[in-house]
């Protein structure tokens, strides 16, 4: 089995380039089309596990994504024989004003009649103290939903992630504040003067 046959590498690089372009354009049809048309196709995203090409297509349709500022930092292509390849990419993206360092791994297979398709993919983000809050959003989400219902403030589905994210940021900032020990004599600063 030949590893990294130049002709095979060139072919895989070409489909990988096309995939990245579709991602920047949020070309939903093209993005879905790159995946293996099979219930065995798989994509693990940062916050979702998608089994089967139908689940992947549904997710893409629902997503209002803007990846305009996504920058590829490094791409590695390893081909094994003529029909199997692994493409890994490190990228940088700004989400809600927070810089993130992302990793994307794809297994590509050349299918008879269809050409190169992604059979399995996985995306993750590096978690650092600076961006940890963005990943607490899962905890803040249910709290936000419950609090919003109690306060009778409906939150549009499109805004829920942003609200949860901002609550996560507040939680991170409030953490050290809640941890500090204050004397009982410290009253809340505003005082009612009748």
């Amino acid at each position: 089995m030949q590893i990294n046959d130049p002709a095979v590498v060139a072919a895989v690089e070409a489909v990988s380039d096309a995939y990245e372009r579709a991602l920047l354009d949020n070309d939903v049809e093209a993005l879905t089309g790159f995946f293996w048309d099979s219930p065995h196709a798989l994509r693990f995203g940062v916050a979702e596990e998608l089994y089967g090409v139908e689940a992947i297509a549904e997710f893409r349709k629902a997503r209002k994504a803007a990846f305009l500022d996504r920058k590829t930092l490094r791409r590695d292509v390893v081909t094994l024989g003529t029909d199997l390849a692994m493409v890994t990419i490190e990228f940088e993206i700004v989400a809600f004003g927070n810089p993130r360092h992302g990793r994307q791994s794809q297994v590509w297979v050349q299918l008879p009649g269809d050409g190169w398709r992604v059979v399995s993919a996985h995306v993750s983000h590096r978690v650092t103290p600076q961006n940890a809050a963005a990943f607490n959003a899962d905890d803040a989400g249910p709290f936000a939903a419950a609090a919003a219902a109690l306060l009778d403030v409906p939150i549009e589905p499109a805004h829920r992630q942003g609200v949860a994210f901002n609550l996560g940021v507040m939680a991170r900032i409030a953490g050290p504040l809640m941890a500090i020990d204050l004397p009982d004599s410290a009253e809340p600063a505003p005082r009612f003067i009748p």
């Binding site: 004003g97 306060l151 403030v153 609200v163």
Partner: protein
């Protein structure tokens, strides 16, 4: 070579008008013409009140003709952040939603006081929506551009007020400062900014953001202009019961006493880390000029900032609750989710922040037993490009908008007066240094600022001289 009218300070204009060397009407016309020519580039004003300006100027000229006193700011042209009430105009506060409000029935108290002093109001300036912003990139009115580099931010939330002063589109402007909204534009635009002691100036007729922290402030190109406008605006106001509990002595009369005997120190620790060479040099040049003593530290400024952040989010979110539940889609997307998140914050966060504020006030007062003025940077970066999202700080890449207030927010928490002193270096964007005083020490801060101005360490040259 004679200076153009738009280059003159408010005091100089008042002096010339009173001496009948030119009329207030001529001044107003000159500034209105300059606004017409340059505002499309800078986007400092969202509303130009030409009729009002000419009427006010006409009254000044008539008073002079009649031998009456036209007031200490006779003919001085100024602009106000678009959250100040102006009789007959809608107070939009940077929002789309408030455009449907009825026009204000009367001027904000301090606008009325400026009018009585003969000042001439040119219009209302751009701001971040409902003041929850440090860059003045407004989804409804567009971004305000920095007169020293039009591709950069003017700072926020009083960005239009900073840019108007830096571009010579007003001799001075009013802003508000809750977490740094006067000091940040002052830094990015390189103009003088004064955030007085909390509750020194009336907030009647000023659209709220965070009642616990909101302070009215001034931006100008000369220290004396800050002093005189402060003296005109200060004083108790029956329309704002909070105002007048603190009273500062008149500031202009003592402005030339010099800085001798005033004890100055730089702030170390939190306020000294991660400074770029230019920011460090600006701090050092101000410290040298004032013979600053060894650096002092405030206890836990990081938590003070967190407390200011928490109080801001909770009070602003609750204040806008009705608008958030019925018109969320009409908010600026850059601030909407933060407002909603603040509305949902647990009360324990908010109350702990308010208790910390009470405790920290005492801690800070202890530091001020040994010093009169503390020096700190105003912003952790120079004016960023309008499309920048992150900046490098202390070896890390951080989100930009969330961190512009790193050095201004802790000070806000306990309502101290701060004078932002601009430092310009050839070929570089300006920055500003915070001169922080104990409550009601505006007169001391103005004396120190005047010293820096006279020594040439700090200045506010015009950008966009066209």
């Amino acid at each position: 070579m004679t200076a153009e009218i738009f280059e003159l300070s408010a005091l100089r204009i008042a002096e010339e008008v009173r001496a009948r060397r030119f009329t207030a009407t001529a001044v107003a016309e000159a500034f209105l013409g300059r606004i017409e020519a340059l505002n499309p580039k800078v986007n400092a004003y969202t509303l130009v009140t030409a009729d009002r300006a000419l009427a006010e100027a006409g009254r000044v000229d008539a008073a002079i003709a009649a031998g009456e006193d036209p007031g200490p700011l006779a003919g001085a042209p100024y602009g106000v952040k678009n959250l100040f009430d102006m009789a007959g105009e809608v107070t939009v506060a940077g929002s789309k939603i408030n455009r449907g409000d009825p026009p204000a029935s009367e001027d904000a108290t301090i606008v009325a006081r400026l009018a009585k002093a003969g000042a001439v109001c040119l219009g209302a300036t751009n701001m971040g929506e409902y003041a929850y912003d440090f860059v003045t990139i407004n989804a409804h009115d567009g971004a305000t551009r920095n007169p020293h580099d039009l591709s950069r931010s003017a700072g926020g939330s009083s960005g239009g007020s900073g840019a108007a002063v830096a571009a010579g589109l007003a001799s001075f402007t009013l802003g508000t400062d809750t977490n740094g909204s006067v000091r940040v534009p002052s830094s990015f635009c390189g103009v003088w900014g004064l955030k007085p002691t909390y509750s020194l100036l009336s907030r009647a007729g000023v659209y709220p953001f965070v009642a616990s922290l909101d302070t009215v402030g001034t931006l100008a190109r000369s220290v004396a202009d800050l002093a005189r406008s402060l003296d005109v605006m200060a004083g108790p106001d029956p329309r704002d019961p909070d105002c007048g509990r603190v009273q500062a002595p008149p500031s202009e009369s003592g402005i030339d006493l010099g800085a001798k005997g005033i004890r100055v120190a730089t702030l170390g620790g939190y306020f000294a880390r991660g400074l770029t060479p230019q920011l460090a040099e600006a701090i050092a040049s101000v410290a040298d000029a004032l013979d600053a003593g060894p650096a002092l530290e405030l206890p836990r400024p990081d938590i003070a900032r967190g407390a200011a952040f928490t109080i801001t989010a909770a009070e602003a979110g609750e204040f806008h609750r009705r608008r958030l539940s019925t018109r969320a889609a009409d908010f600026d997307p850059a601030s909407r989710d933060r407002f909603i998140a603040g509305l949902l914050a647990p009360s324990a966060w908010y109350l702990k922040a308010q208790r910390f504020r009470d405790w920290w006030k005492g801690e800070v007062a202890r530091v001020f037993q040994d010093v009169d003025v503390l020096i700190a940077p105003a912003t952790p970066m120079l004016a960023p490009g309008l499309d920048e999202q992150t900046f490098e700080f202390d070896g890390a890449t951080l989100p930009l908008r969330a961190n512009v207030g790193l050095f201004t927010q802790p000070i806000t928490l306990v309502g101290l007066p701060v004078l932002a002193a601009p430092v310009h270096r050839p070929g570089q964007m300006p920055t500003a240094v915070q001169l922080i005083g104990r409550p009601n020490s505006e007169a001391i801060l103005l004396r120190v600022a005047r010293e820096l101005e006279q020594k040439g360490v700090c200045s506010a040259p015009l950008g966009l001289v066209a």
